[in-house]
Subunit: 118 residues, 2 copies
């Protein structure tokens, strides 16, 4: 029910003090890099400039001990990009958290859904 198009949606963000965050934006970008093999194509799919997409990837790559996205420079198409093994694990971990969140608070979401103005 809470996953229907106009139903409530739970959005998880993880704050990495002092200033970093991991949330839907970076996760969606990672998913799109995995799908498209390209930082610029992933950014375009999210209506963001290449510069902004690149800055998000740079932030991701500096948040952990291991890099999250690897890019190959050069080549006819200007090189491609892919998630590293660690990046794939990170994506999987975030999805697991989202799933556990959805399951853990079902009754509260039902209460909110019942009381929201339609």
């Amino acid at each position: 029910m809470e996953n229907s198009d106009d139903g409530l949606r739970l959005v998880l963000r993880i704050d990495f003090p002092p200033g970093n965050r991991l949330g839907h934006g970076k996760i969606r970008l990672m998913e799109l890099i995995a799908e498209t093999g390209s930082i610029s194509a992933a950014g375009r799919a999210m209506d963001m400039s290449y510069r902004r997409a690149w800055l998000l990837v740079d932030a991701l790559n500096n948040m952990f001990d291991l890099p999250v996205v690897e890019s190959q420079r050069g080549g006819k198409q200007g090189g491609g990009a892919a998630l590293t093994e660690f990046g794939t694990s990170l994506l999987h971990t975030y999805r697991t958290m989202q799933k556990k969140l959805d399951q853990a608070v079902k009754s509260e979401v039902d209460w909110l859904e019942k009381n929201r103005r339609q």
Copy 2:
């Protein structure tokens, strides 16, 4: 461990399609209204203008069938504000969700904490 000052922090947002959101900002404002009895004092404590605080309260009051914040106009101090009974329940529900979230994803938070760059 994940609640220490520089530890990871999970932040929950609930999207109410098409355009409303309930997250840390509105929840903190509700807490401060309950503490201070005033929308302007609550806003000041969050470094926001009275106008912005009032707009957030107005958004909250239009998201549910019942109002969340009630304000008394007039009086020497320009009237006060308080959470309604429903607002108090809403605050309690959000805190319950946050607690259940923290408990449900402990192992994933530990994994992130282990892999983050310190």
